[in-house]
Each structure stands twice: as C-alpha cells, then as structure tokens.
Symmetry: C2
Subunit: 185 residues, 2 copies
C-alpha cells in the first residue's frame, strides 16, 4: 500500500493545550507496528527529537529484529522491520521519495476535531486504493498533534465517531481502527 504512518512525540499538546513533548512508549512501538504490518503499511515512523528517546526506541526495535526477541517471537521482528526512528517529519519526505519515484508524500493528520481540509474515510480510502499517490498518516501522542504541525498538513482525516459523545481512544486503538477503515476488508 502507498501508505506510511508516523507517530509524533514533539510538538504535541499537553493537557492545557500548550506545546509539549512526550516519551516513547513500548506499547506504542509494538501495537502500532503490528497493526501497520497487518494492513500492509510501508513504513512506521516513530518521531522524537531527543537522542536518549531515540536510543531507547532503537534498542527495543533491535531486540526484536535481531536479538533474543527475534528467536522468541519472530512475528514481532517482522512487524518492527517497518519501524524507523526519526527526528523530524522532514525525514519522511526523503524516505518516501526514494520509494515513490520522486513523489513527495501527502501528509494526513489525525484529530478528534474537523478542519477545513478534512477528508472522509471513504475519500481517502479511494485515493489510497487508486495507488498513484503516496500518503503519510500522522498520529499524535499526549493530548494530540500541536496546531503548529497541523497547519502544515495537506489533509486532515475525519474523526472516529463511536456510539455516543465519548471519544477518548488511545492512539494505539485509533491507529488500528483507522487502518482497518482505510485498508481492511
């Protein structure tokens, strides 16, 4: 699939809406990599500008790809082959262009709100299946992607609606549902 996903740890919003950074979570690395592999995503970028955080994530990924973890549970290694730790989303552009024959990716942010450039699941699903464009879906940690980042995205994806007013899915669950809606079945 011409689809990539990125998990952003900076700049994101904290509880009050201010700019903030979060730490990388082990469960985010695994769960989202496994969902990405299940739905044929090309690359899973884990963005964090802090060197100690990047080292932490890279150590986990190496354990499952090459270390003892790769023998204990090879399916984790298969999922984490997709994972790439990056400083900044600008690295996504170069990486995708290498695989797309020079076409830059279309960045699609995810949020619980709607924006003037919001696309529906159906519309984005059709464009992905069409196969001529390359996309990078962007997920925020903490209290969501910071507006300064959202401003730069080409598109925003329609929020997930459940059965009532409550809408506080974990980023792991949201990523799974979104991939299923865009690619599943």
């Amino acid at each position: 699939m011409p689809l990539n996903i990125a998990l952003v740890h900076y700049p994101i919003r904290d509880k009050k809406g201010d700019i903030s950074a979060t730490s990388i979570t082990n469960f985010d690395i695994h769960d989202i990599a496994r969902s990405a592999r299940t739905y044929g995503v090309e690359r899973y970028y884990i963005q964090n500008p802090m060197p100690s955080q990047k080292k932490f994530a890279e150590r986990i990924i190496r354990h499952w790809r090459e270390g003892f973890g790769s023998e204990y549970n090879p399916s984790r290694g298969t999922a984490l082959e997709l994972a790439l730790v990056i400083d900044d989303l600008s690295e996504v552009v170069d990486d995708v262009m290498e695989r797309s024959g020079g076409k830059p990716p279309i960045f699609v942010g995810t949020s619980a709100k709607t924006y003037p450039n919001t696309v529906t699941f159906e519309n984005l699903r059709r464009r992905i299946q069409n196969g001529t464009e390359h996309f990078c879906l962007v997920f925020g940690t903490g209290w969501g992607l910071h507006p300064s980042l959202i401003m730069d995205f080409d598109l925003m994806l329609e929020p997930i609606k459940g059965a009532g007013g409550y809408n506080h899915l974990s980023v792991r669950s949201a990523a799974a549902i979104i991939l299923d809606r865009l690619i599943g079945r």
Copy 2:
C-alpha cells in the same frame, strides 16, 4: 448497546498451545475500557482467578475512578466505570441477566481461526443492532483463548483479515477494530 466484552487471562494458550495463565496488563485495562466506552459497550469484564492479580487491577481502576486520577484525567474514570474484575465467566451470566430481564448472554469468542460456529461481522452487527439479544464478546490474552473455553461458546467471530498473510494484532488493537466493525459508523 446490548454488548459486553470480557478479557480472559485463564485458561489461555501459551506459545506452544498449552494451557496457561497471563498477568493483567495496565494497557489492556485502559485501552480496552476506552474503546468500550467509545462504542457504548455495557460492561468490560477483566477475568483473572488469581487474588493478587484481581487486587492489582482493582487498585488501578479505583485510582482512576475515585483517586487522584479521577481529578487529573476524568475521562479515564468515565471509561473505567465499565470495568469489572471477575474470577470466572460464569459471573458474566448473572451480571448480564440482571440487566437483560433474565436473558442469559450469548458468548461470542474471538480468534484468528474459523470454526463451525463462526459468524460474520455483518451478521453479528445486525443481531446487536436488533437489540433483543445480549452478547458477551470474549478476547484472549497470551496466544489466544484455550480450546476448552472455546468449546463452550455459542458463537465465534470471523477473524480480522488485513492486507496480507500477517495477522498478529495486539488484543487491544483487535478489540478496537472489532468494536468499530460491529458498532461504528
């Protein structure tokens, strides 16, 4: 929704397929409760027969429902209001019957395989929307629900298929996708 979910920690399969027990994971408590609340699930049962494990889960739930967590992030408490720690799935029967006017729940297991009593997402979705039957979707931890448990279920749910042969979603991601397919949109 006349739908409940249960997360089973015993009896489940270990890596070799043998009977085993797993520990309760903090992320399973939170992520699945948040998905359950988002999709209007009635109750989220966390099954584990070990007293120390039950205490652990109950302490976490209390922290977010009544303790400091309820002030720090009230939406977590709202999700965890659905959570109930139980020894055994037989407790689900009594609990559902109190809310269903005496109708026992229909147990629906989840698995990466198909069985003679497998139902499709579409079929189960229709029966849930119909509103006359009460269901309990059952999820396994570890390497999945043990066959001795599966034998007793009324129905099994069709496996989630992604885009290729890889099918190793986390139970948190699988629960999110299944609730979205059965109730979402």
